[in-house]
């Protein structure tokens, strides 16, 4: 069974700083998808960034980038030039390619990130 572990329950950084959120996962699959979801206080979960395991290049989306280390099964999220609006709960998530009907997302417990003014 796949598992996702986020070892940092809570973090705080000053506005404009760079912050890295850690995530490790466990799977026997060779191909899969990894995601970071953001859940701000308004509650809707928003997809921040995604990575396909067969792609070696790390995904980037504006100020958000990942460090994907497949051998280490590590998938960290880096937020550059952090902004107050980045304050949220961040979930790391895993999904294996669907086989038949299995397309569920497996989430970590989340990291609560506070951006301080």
């Amino acid at each position: 069974a796949q598992t996702v572990t986020q070892s940092q329950p809570e973090m705080s950084v000053q506005e404009a700083e760079t912050v890295t959120l850690s995530c490790t996962y466990d799977t026997s699959e060779s191909n899969y998808y990894l995601f970071w979801y953001k859940q701000p206080p308004s509650r809707q979960m928003i997809l921040v960034i995604r990575q396909e395991a067969y792609k070696q290049q790390n995904a980037t989306e504006n100020r958000f980038s990942v460090n994907f280390q497949k051998a280490a099964k590590s998938f960290s999220l880096k937020i550059s030039d952090s902004q107050l609006g980045d304050t949220a709960m961040y979930f790391c998530a895993f999904m294996k390619p669907p086989e038949g009907r299995d397309d569920k997302i497996i989430f970590g417990k989340g990291t609560r990130l506070h951006i301080l003014p």
Partner: protein, 116 residues
Amino acid sequence: EPEVTQTPSHQVTQMGQEVILRCVPISNHLYFYWYRQILGQKVEFLVSFYNNEISEKSEIFDDQFSVERPDGSNFTLKIRSTKLEDSAMYFCASSVGQGLTNQPQHFGDGTRLSIL
């Protein structure tokens, strides 16, 4: 941008009562999901639904749970006889296609269910 909407935002119910959580997925989406998050714990998959039938369900999704798409727009989760341990945030999600990274699952705001 279209959104998944869930109602109510907060539901308080007596133990043993039936509760229905409602979701309106994004209109052109074909795959539907329910997840739940017990306070302080991780988000867990409950069930997926496609073509008017359950595609997959977790061991959490026992006989007390059911899902339905009654009218082509709503997607509901029913808990027949609620228990204290059903207290959680319930998230609905939908996607256009199955498991495609270009068509991810979109989540609603969630319904906080409190069982007294």
